[in-house]
Symmetry: C2
Subunit: 127 residues, 2 copies
């Protein structure tokens, strides 16, 4: 099983690559048949091709997106959860969107699955 | 399926009953064969007798415990996630423990399962 340090390193790199727009670095954090369910309840994207398409869709609608962790990651065995705020740059302003990610990891520390609980009702303008 | 309003009402009541020490009110929020996995990775408690035992164990080690939600709940279908801080009153002081709960709900809004990602590494004295 991956160590807590390995899992935390993957999550740190996940946040870094996502916020810096490093699509290939971000995709490389997943196992080949990894899944992304964002938001929870949507059809999961499976494999790097579909996950890459998800990345493209997110970035096509935004001028920019960065994230800031507000709680965690709390690692438990091969799973982890973290709370963060996504900062969304839109044509009409900048908004903060609270999100909780729940993730599972392979023995080598790569991501097997990511599920995003998006608190859309708490979307607010950035102060 | 339970509505978002039903799920949010259950979570609000969950936090209220837990913080006020209302064991029976808290237990009543679960379906008969509900499960609690707290922390994630421990053997899940199943059914109200085992969940009640979990409550007793938590409260036996503490002078008091209250919770304050810091993010969410983010509701998605029959699932929800929230981040909160547990305030633990111990013999040697008061401590803040960050936790992320992931929950599933029955059609009537009652809790089917609760899993707690406990960020033990971020335990800190209350300021």
């Amino acid at each position: 099983m991956a160590t807590e340090a390995q899992i935390k390193a993957t999550i740190a790199r996940y946040q870094e690559t996502f916020s810096s727009g490093d699509k290939q670095g971000w995709l490389g954090l997943f196992v080949e048949d990894g899944t992304v369910e964002d938001p929870v309840g949507s059809v999961p994207r499976k494999g790097r091709a579909e996950i890459g398409q998800f990345w493209d869709e997110v970035h096509a609608t935004l001028r920019g997106i960065t994230t800031e962790v507000t709680m965690g990651p709390a690692v438990a065995g091969h799973e982890a959860a973290l709370a963060f705020e996504a900062r969304l740059e839109l044509d009409n302003g900048t908004f903060i969107l609270p999100i909780i990610d729940v993730m599972t990891f392979a023995d080598d520390g790569r991501l097997v699955s990511m599920r995003a609980f998006v608190d859309g009702g708490s979307l607010r303008p950035a102060s």
